[in-house]
Amino acid sequence: MWIEANIAFKFLRQGRIQTALILVGVAVGVAVIVFVVALINGLQGNIIERTLGTQSHIRVQPPEEVNLRPSAPGSTIELLNEDKRPQRLRSINNWLEVQAALDGLPGLKAVSPMASGPGFARRGEVLRSVSLMGIDPARYERIIPIRDDIVEGEFRVGAGDAVIGKQLADELGVKAGNKLRLEAGQGRDAIVNVAGIFELGVRELDARFVYLDLTQAQALLALPGGVTQIDVTVNDIFAADVSSARIARLTGLKSESWMETNAQLMNALSSQSISTNIISLMVALSVAFGIASVLAVSVTQRTREIGILRAIGTTRRQMLGVFLLQGGLVGLVGSAIGGFAAYALVWLFNTIGPGLFYIPIGPVLIPASMALATVTGVLSAMAPAWRASRLDPVVAIRYV
């Protein structure tokens, strides 16, 4: 191995211009791949973070109410005109047990029950429709870290304290410490103290969310002791659909992952990933052909030297090794340069770029690209290396 590496290295060093050109080719290719992958990862991470910053990964709800009907006797044709049943606000049966079961499930990060339903917030003459959300603050904060988004007052829910969105507060003209009347229909209402005001940055949510103590919400919504949904976050967000299916199987409840609720977004993300992969593949292919063609030229140029090396005792396998190693070396060194260039580009983007979002460059991306480029280099070298190893020394030595 030592002599193969030695010859490979010396051959590359001797063919200075060729080597420099192909190194630049590999470097540019790898830089493009690394930068595009990092960019798309950053972009997608940013989008997902924004999306999931205001919602749980999985929402567990009571199963939908359906019409029960006697099954028709066999081999009869049934004509049915069915009115769907309205979905009442219902509690999850035995939700404490469900919560306990979910707490013990691996892969889940947080489980938080919620009693939520529609209501109105009234202050003086102003009436706004809101979502009343009764939460267990300690659990809920692990789903959405609402404390980070408080712009006024503090995140305190319970015993007559509510936390509302900035938009709603502005519309109602309330500040932290003001009182607010909440109505849930059929004469159920409560006066709460606005303990804090949050701003999630999503207008719709900031105008509608009213966080209450779980018990208070249960009373307002006429769901004594019940919750209408359980929010779950998972460790691996892209495995949320798997966890969701598992929860549905386990509990018999309706379980929806963020991927289902945001199908459109998922579609966009996966299209983006596919196009990134295609671009990377094309660039990698052109790099591979570049390496192969440079080595093919090198084999032709060195035909006589290959003949001599064979004559003085170099085996076919060693000859093969010399050229495979050249491919690998070109891939490794070129991708190291390219990785460095991509790192610099990302740094530039993050420092003086448009500042739309931050591109993280993981610790794996560059080493993985280098490993892949090295393997690609070796694979690209296969054909020329094979030709070198099969050269007839008699013919090769006389080659001019």
Binding site: E305, I308, I312, G313, T315
Partner: protein
């Protein structure tokens, strides 16, 4: 002297075997080369000298007959075996010196050892220096081939051919592109190594002055050895019965 290096028995070589263009270049060669022989292989162009040299050098395989190198039959060997035997027992000197340009003179000399045994040890390096000294160019050891003159390059090639202490040194027109004086010096080196290291030398040459200074002249015409004579200068040294008869079967080996 029974210690033969090389023995050819009824060796034939054809090209394009099985095709309509099949042509036989060597028509049954019998030849013995002893351990201390210093022989010239001469003959007109197209007589098959180079083919014979390639077959002897295990670069090419005979179509028929057998070639014994150090008493080992070689025809049935696969490429790896032949490569190994070639690497250990045969030294090549080509007309156009054929050094590896990317390596220094010293590395070129060490190359046959490096490709068979890997990184050279102190002993091997010392031997390479000794050989460079013997061919008179130790001061150029660190130079690349393209920084050396033709004669110097050929000396490096000779040193390279001898680094493995081969039993047989094959040279194909080694002085073909050297001036007369350099050619004579190169030939003197062959002679020196033949005597000092006891390695058999077989030289293909067109130059009658060089072939005459060899101990033995093998004349190949149209793929057959037409004469195999001991030259008078060394007739005594080659032993009794060296009558320069021209009949190859009489060669005393």
């Amino acid at each position: 002297m029974s210690d033969g290096v090389l023995r050819l028995e009824g060796l034939r070589k054809s090209y394009n075997v099985g095709l309509p263009t099949e042509v036989e270049v060597l028509h049954g060669i019998d030849l013995k080369v002893g351990r201390h022989d210093f022989a010239a292989l001469i003959g007109p162009s197209g007589s098959g000298k180079s083919t014979l040299l390639n077959v002897i050098g295990l670069l090419d395989t005979p179509t028929q007959g057998e070639l014994y190198l150090l008493d080992r039959p070689t025809r049935a060997m696969d490429d790896d075996e032949r490569t190994a035997l070639r690497g250990s027992s045969i030294g090549f000197v080509f007309q156009f010196h054929h050094l590896i340009q990317a390596f220094t003179a010293l590395e070129n000399v060490l190359m046959p050892l490096m490709v068979t045994r890997g990184k050279p040890d102190a002993d091997a390096t010392e031997r390479a220096w000794a050989l460079l000294k013997a061919v008179g160019i130790e001061s150029f050891a660190a130079k690349k081939p393209n920084e050396l003159s033709g004669g110097q390059q050929q000396r490096v090639a000779i040193a390279r051919a001898l680094i493995t202490r081969p039993a047989l040194l094959l040279a194909d027109e080694p002085t073909g592109n050297l001036d007369t004086r350099t050619a004579a010096e190169t030939f003197a080196l062959f002679r020196k190594f033949n005597e000092e290291f006891g390695c058999a030398v077989l030289v293909v040459t067109h130059d009658p002055r060089l072939s005459e200074s060899c101990d033995r002249t093998i004349n190949l015409v149209d793929g057959l050895i037409v004469s195999d004579t001991l030259n008078s200068r060394t007739g005594a040294a080659a032993g009794a019965g060296a009558g320069a008869t021209g009949d190859r079967d009489d060669h005393p080996l």
